[in-house]
Structures are given as C-alpha cells and as structure tokens.
C-alpha cells in the first residue's frame, strides 16, 4: 500500500518536473525568436527539412483520404437520395477535423520523430555542449529555428491536405460516381463558413503545430544521451504528440463548434 502511494507520488513528481522543464525550455525557445529572424538562413534550412520534405506524404495522404471520403460518403448519402451534399460532407469533415488532425499526426510521425532523433543524437555526441563551449547558445542556434519552422509549416501543410482532399473527393465523386459538379461545389460554398470553418481549422492546425514541435524538440533536448535513450525519446515524441493532438482536438472542437 505504502509502496503504491510512493510510486504514485514519484510519478506525479517526475511528471511535474518534466512539465516545468518543458515550460522553461519553451520560454527559452520563444525568447530566441528575435535572433532567428535576424538570420533567416537558419529558418529557411529548417523549413526545407520540416516543411518541404513532409510535403509529399501530406499531399498523397490528403488525396487518398479525400477519395475515400468521397466513396464512403456517396454510398451512405445515395441511400437518402442526397448525393448532392457529398461536397459539403467531404469539405466540412476535411476542413474542420481531418485536415488539421491527420496532417498533424503525419507531421508528428514524419517531422517530429526526425527532430527528436536529430537533437537527441546531437546531445549524445555532445555537439550541444560543444556549442556552449564556443559561447554559441544551442537553443537559439538549433532549437528556435526548428520550432519556428514547425509552427509555420503546420498550417500550410494542413491547408494543402484539405485542398488536395477536396479535389480528391471531387475526382471520385464527380469523375467516378457521377455526382453533379455544380451541386458539389455550390452546396459546399453555401454550407461552409469562412469564419466558422476555415479560420477555425487554421487555428487548430497552428495549435497542433505548436504542440507537436514543442514536444518533439523537448523530448530530443531532454533525451538520455545514449542510443537507447534517443530511441525511447523518439517513441515518446510520436506517442505523446498523437495523444495531445487528439485530446486537444476534442477540446478545440467543443469550444469552436459548440453553439451551432
């Protein structure tokens, strides 16, 4: 019994310490933003490895998700003779939920894990300490550019995911199943609101980008500097990111779409 309590107490303490370190790390990262903006080259390099290299997987997944939505939506809606609302269904589910969430999950798997492994390995091979020895702040030089790049890339990737998905749904719905093209687009435009749907979707993706990049960078920076430690940190990044994305998505949805 005592052991159980002791274990619970220890877990809580460790959890809170980690949260505290994470917050301190985040504040340090944010305080470095000004110095990164003075050296945009660092940011461009990271935009390349985080954004551009995630581009292809996002586009392809978006296309297939949109196509599947088109197919499944058509089968169900045609039972009610409401095939014309296929556009609304595909676009609303992509813009509100699937776009931000799935692209954030893919982002965590593709870019987040790479960030953790990269930084964890830098720590294991003492590159970070080396920088400190040369009076270069590793937070400003390494962490902040990656953080900013993740924050900027995520909304762009989510928007691309939704766009390609809607076009994929268009391809399957209109090209393959013969839904009326005018109805597909006009119903979509009539039902989707710029403020309520598009902006809220973008806000979601910014929040997810923030959280995912933060987790990935912190896990890498906080990893035990051994090969096993880095591998565990990478796993934790993907798992924790997925949990945070899905949990936050529920909270954000409840806040945003509550009063409809």
């Amino acid at each position: 019994m005592i052991e159980l309590l002791q274990y619970l107490g220890k877990t809580t303490r460790v959890g809170f310490t980690k949260l505290g370190r994470g917050t301190y790390f985040l504040l340090q990262t944010i305080s470095g933003i000004a110095s990164v903006l003075l050296r945009p080259r660092l940011l461009i390099n990271q935009m390349y490895s985080i954004g551009v290299l995630s581009f292809l997987i996002i586009i392809i997944s978006g296309l297939f998700v949109g196509m599947v939505l088109g197919l499944q939506g058509y089968y169900i809606l045609s039972d009610f003779g409401a095939e014309e609302t296929l556009g609304v269904m595909v676009a609303a589910s992509l813009v509100r939920e699937l776009g931000p969430v799935v692209s954030a999950l893919l982002f965590a798997g593709r870019a987040g894990s790479a960030l953790t492994a990269e930084i964890g390995l830098m720590k294991a091979t003492e590159q970070l300490s080396g920088m400190e020895m040369m009076a270069v702040d590793p937070i400003k030089r390494i962490i902040t550019p990656r953080f900013l790049a993740g924050l900027l890339s995520m909304p762009l990737l989510a928007a691309l995911f939704s766009t390609v998905g809607i076009l994929g749904g268009d391809m399957v719905g209109i090209g393959l199943l013969g839904v009326d093209e005018g109805a597909y687009w006009s119903q979509m435009q009539a039902k989707l609101d710029f403020q309520d749907d598009i902006i809220n979707g973008v806000i979601k993706s910014i929040v997810f980008g923030f959280v995912t990049t933060w987790i990935a960078l912190f896990e890498g920076y906080d990893a035990i500097p051994t090969s096993e430690g880095v591998s565990r940190a990478t796993t934790r990044t993907v798992v924790n990111s997925a949990f945070s994305i899905l949990g936050l998505d529920f909270i954000l949805t409840a806040l945003m779409f509550g009063d409809n």
């Binding site: 390099n45 909304p155 598009i198």
Partner: protein
Amino acid sequence: MQHTSTQDTLVGLFVASGIVGLFFLALQVSNLSSFVEQDSYTIIASFENSGGLKVKSPVSAAGVKIGQVSAINFDPKTYQSVVKMSIYSQYNTLPDDTTASIFTAGLLGEQYVNLDPGGSDEYFKNNGKIEITQSAIILEKAIGQFLFKSAEEKK
C-alpha cells in the same frame, strides 16, 4: 546538404503552394465571396412563429437570394417573433405591401424567408415593417391536424 539556391526555391514553392491552398479554401470552398459585407438595408417582420429560422438564414424573392436574416428576437408585448432581415441595397424596389412567409427548402431542408412583392407604388425604406406575414409550417402540427381530421371523418 543541397545547394542553397535549390533549397530556397523549394521552400518558396512549398510556402507558395500552402498559401494557394489557403486561398483556395477561402474562396472556392467557403462563402468568403458572400462574406464580404454588401451594402444592405433592414426590413422587419413579425411572425406568430418563426420555427427553425436562424440568423444568416437566406431571404429570397422568386427563388433568388436577396438578403439574409440578421436578428431574431422575441417581442415580450405582442408575444411574436421579430425577424430583422438585411436586404442587399441593389434590391431597393420592394413594394411596401410585400408579404413575408417562412418556407422550408425541401421536406427536411433549412428554413428561409420568402418575400412576395405586392402591388404598391411605395418602396420599403430602411427599417420598414412588413405587415402581412405567414408563420413557419410546423411539421408536427400539420401531421397532428391531419390525423385529427381523418379520425373525425371516420366517425
């Protein structure tokens, strides 16, 4: 590490396509084009029952959308539902004996206000009041009445 200018180009391409995606969502997918505030004037109608009418529900005449509902309030004196509608300024020739009725698009579709222009020579001004209105048809009520009637006939 790739050559820096190639990298710049790719990053530029990525950012540009992301922005194009956002624009596509804003303009092609959502109603941003109608989100831009058009010049409009307000007319007011009181209904016995405004049913499932909502703010932003369309207001149409002869099947064409000419405005949208801007507010719905309950009048504590007359116990009626006061519906304010903003009509686009280009349609400023509605006669002041126009009647308003609440219809449903399709059997289960959303509700909208339909305006039937009358024959008066005077046009509505801002905050004009529609005198003749017809309430929303509540489906449950209609079915109830129908069942009641057919039961009566059988007697």
